[in-house]
Symmetry: D2
Subunit: 349 residues, 4 copies
């Protein structure tokens, strides 16, 4: 733990990339030594992200120049398909890999191919990949060489459900409805009409209603914890005009007598990054802006005879929903204090 980990980031030009850079700059045991981008090779990071002027003295390199195999760990902040192609070589050279893309999230390659419309080519790596939802798989992550960092929606939806599913608290056969709202940064830093200020601003819409790629990912997690719950998940993502933040409102039927506040409080009492709020609290996304934190609140459906509950969870989609959780995985993999580099405080207002 005394030494400093050498870190590489593949595809550091996007929002998860710049967020990794922001957080790792203050990490006491890790140092970014290499950032790659084919399109921006040669450009100084300070010219690309003026927010990092004075923080880093690094230039983007091509993957060939970057000597990523000299790193202790490499993050992939890339579109899907890249890590699948490049991670196996790095693993073979002893480099640990944390993939923020979707390449290794689905255990069944056939399901992956159906949703991602690409041939899956890294079966051997997939067999050792660990799904990096830290609060669920902490023990496995400690042993892992390859982490599939979870999607933003799956993190936000799964965290309040996990303690309920582990105790088989859901009524069998009833739908689980996850109505989710994301800030626009979830769409990434790419030029697209739909993400323009004048298209996404002052506007609220649903998208991916006919089937979003995070649906099979959440279902996979649910099914492992309580049988048949995955198939009963209905998941609708929406886009809300804010930069960062994600809100999940999840409706569940619980067995009589189950008290979700108690179950959640116990389950997460030792978790630094999950905050089960006091009864009667309502979370808001800005209460976690910039922080690696999921805040959760629960409320029984008012004036309703059955034991139906409303689970509300918020996170910063770029932190606990992406770069922050990736660093949390790094910390666990290398046996560092789990909060290393992740103790910054919410920016409010």
């Amino acid at each position: 733990m005394a030494q400093t980990l050498k870190i590489g980031i593949v595809g550091a030009t996007g929002y998860t990339g710049v967020e990794l850079l922001r957080l790792l700059a203050k990490h006491p045991y890790a140092q970014v030594v290499s950032i790659t981008s084919r399109s921006e090779a040669g450009v100084h990071i300070a010219d690309y992200f003026p927010s990092l002027r004075g923080v880093y003295d690094l230039r983007f390199q091509t993957p060939e120049e970057a000597q990523l195999d000299q790193c202790d760990a490499v993050f992939f902040a890339t579109p899907h398909g890249v890590a699948m192609r490049d991670a196996p070589d790095l693993l073979a050279k002893g480099v640990k890999v944390i993939d923020l893309s979707a390449d290794f999230r689905l255990e069944d390659a056939a399901v992956w191919e159906k949703w991602y419309k690409l041939p899956f080519t890294a079966h051997e790596a997939l067999s050792e990949a660990v799904y990096g939802l830290c609060e669920l798989n902490r023990e496995k992550i400690k042993q892992a060489r390859l982490i599939a960092n979870p999607g933003c929606y799956p993190t936000c939806v799964s965290l309040p459900l996990i303690p309920l599913l582990k105790t088989q608290a859901l009524v069998d056969g009833m739908p689980i409805i996850a109505d989710c709202k994301s800030g626009v940064s979830g769409a990434g830093r790419k030029a697209s009409i739909g993400s323009l200020f004048c298209e996404a601003g002052d506007n609220f819409k649903a998208y991916g209603v006919a089937g979003h790629r995070h649906l099979p990912e959440i279902r996979q997690t649910l099914n492992k914890l309580q049988a048949n719950t995955g198939e009963h998940l209905i998941f609708v993502p929406h886009l809300t005009p804010m930069i960062r933040g994600m809100f999940a409102t999840t409706y569940v039927h619980l067995k009589d007598g189950v008290c979700p506040h108690e179950l959640l409080s116990q389950a997460y009492s030792g978790s630094a990054f999950v905050d089960v709020m006091p009864k009667g609290s309502l979370p808001e996304t800005r209460s976690v802006r910039g922080a690696n934190l999921c805040r959760i609140s629960v409320q029984k459906a008012p004036e309703y005879e059955d034991n139906v509950w409303i689970l509300m969870s918020v996170q910063d989609n770029l932190v606990k929903g992406a770069a922050g959780q990736a660093i949390q995985n790094l910390n666990i993999m290398f046996d560092l204090p789990e909060t290393s580099g992740l103790d910054n405080i919410t920016l409010l207002p």
Copy 2:
């Protein structure tokens, strides 16, 4: 129809007030002759709302000065309690009243008192009030002297449900989940910390989860159309950082074989202000910004075995959700073309 209706507006200093003024300025058969506000009496409308400079030459008056009894119709754009107190006198003098507040929305005064924490004092007026959800009660509205203009959420949630409930299409005993998102103007134009730019901006939150006043209002509508459906409504409102707009995502279990797209399309084929979008469409709030319009789309829950559907409806909360529907009610009451003053087009972007 040849003559021009004389219109008064009580409480024209808020967002529904200024929206009534905007729309009525172009109404071919109505003219605003009187606007009241105790706090702003004497102030010219152009000084209060610079957006109306050159449009109106009116000053706010006290209710006493205003001679509202000379009007053909009076709109109440006031906090609850005011119309309950003042409308009966106007009715007695032959003035028709359209109340944009909640005073006459609940048929059961005891329920009203429970939710609004005030004694209810206008029982006689209540007995003749018609709930002004135009597409549901058009025939009754024609005969009405007193309209309870519906709440914004109840309008947005009820419109997609009405044709389904009328045909008894919902599976008995299953929850109806209405997950709703509103722009900040829904909170009105009053100085409150929670509605500040720096509190509501770049933030998403739920509110009123333990019980919102629009819950009994929606339930009342549902119960009249299909027995026992009201009690199965779960309603969660959220605040989203936009000025205008409302989005309702409503989850329903339909009986086998029911096709909601067909039912909705038929039900609203003659309605100027409800647009059932083509299959596969997804509505967005900005597509109705400034227009008196509710756009609806439906989607079967993907990869789900039961006949569960996702109903999506959008409106401008200040127009179809408030001032626009109020004018629609005026048009129906006075046998004017229903679109009078309501044919302006969505402002986009």
Copy 3:
């Protein structure tokens, strides 16, 4: 005036295009019969702009299909270079042309080529083009066949200056500083990183400080009215996180004794679309949102010995700054009431 003008729009897929469509839909003497776009040919306007569902029954056509020569007038809402290429043919066939791009705004083709980095090829058309700043050139516009619709910044900056320059009110040799702020829609509806919600949102920046194409355009107007004033213009545009709206703060040294409020009030007393506000007023962009209107206010520099004034002008960059003024030009060219199709009211909030 009894008949209806047939209108074509070239390049109707952008923000000025959709704004032309919104405004012309209510124009009493004009009807859009043709919209062109190579990339979207065949697509129904309602699928492209859901805000126009139910308003138009038109499909995009290629320019070849569109038979624009059957129109009375054609608007070019295109990038620069297109009108220069296509307008001469239409003019030759008797079609009047209103070009919202920059092609015909600069009288000196060499200056145009310097700023727009293209060879200028339509010298004959240029020689008859009239600069369509309506309040300045109303008489010439009446006779025009080809209108160069002004840029958004030049409209907003020139309107408060024109009456001062016409009366030679500026002190010779002193700088005129126009510090301007635009909403993001000014950048157009094209996929670019800089216009993303997450780049332009919650951010304020200057751009084009080393030289913006609207500088020579404004200078040309100034120089015609008072000698040597153009060269003394300093113009800095900024981007502000709002969708629509433009604010110009212009600092001028006036000769002793000059009272700009009086000069402006007199000059614009007969102009429907320029509002000189009462002394002490401060304009805000939302007071003109969606309306074809420039509101102006003036204030002497406080606690300052010289006769330096702060001119503040606001407009909706897409309306008075683009599509609205283009329709105002149409109305003047065809001897229609100048307010035809332009009497809609500001949307506020």
Copy 4:
């Protein structure tokens, strides 16, 4: 330096208060031991600012309970008038005071009374107060017991001007025009109509044009550095729809041969919190969001014969413009490393 300073904050319920709390939570040599608020006495900070749940275990106290005299330093984050009343007692008891309000910013009490409309009552304290513009007065701050923390606009406008004025680089008698734009948090966390999301959102406006309280404050600084420059300042503040951030565009006439980029670069080469950007750069407010940093860029007025320059400076109004600079003052006063607690990185996007 080994020990930890005990810190009190008077009026910690506003935006500068919560920002002090955010930054001080990570300060290696300081600990907040007391926060006061009459209206919120007894409330836990985590219930008032959920963003601070898990960060502090403090409750608001009345000033009487708070025992502020046990602190090493007390910050006043209060409306004006409070520090003037309460600071002298604390000073007498040996507590150092950093006042974020305006009470001690103007050296001439008569001028203060004119602009703040209150009798000034703390003349003795005023005589020892140091104006805490750190980069200007670092040496005096080291000796100070009472700091007048500068206003947000004065900091942003003065920093690019100081090196020019110190070298007498401005042409005598020419105006200095500071056109400034602030995010809405500058108006504070108080319920006012003008700061509502629906009033300040999607809107740009000027305010205080007839005279803003920061005008005499900036003039005081200017006059000390180059004679007669203060009276030639014209200052216009604007409100822009973003939460945090401030942008100043300042226009100055420099003597022939003066190169402001060089002067600024030299002057700030040793300053951790002023970043003179490379030639050709343009600053944007988000590049300093959440960071104690002022970034500056300069550009000669294009196509202009005289030596007129455009100075652009950005800061986070709540950090370098308020709480961050206050902590910077604390660090200097107590001989701590100047960057203590201020090394957090810009949050982008």
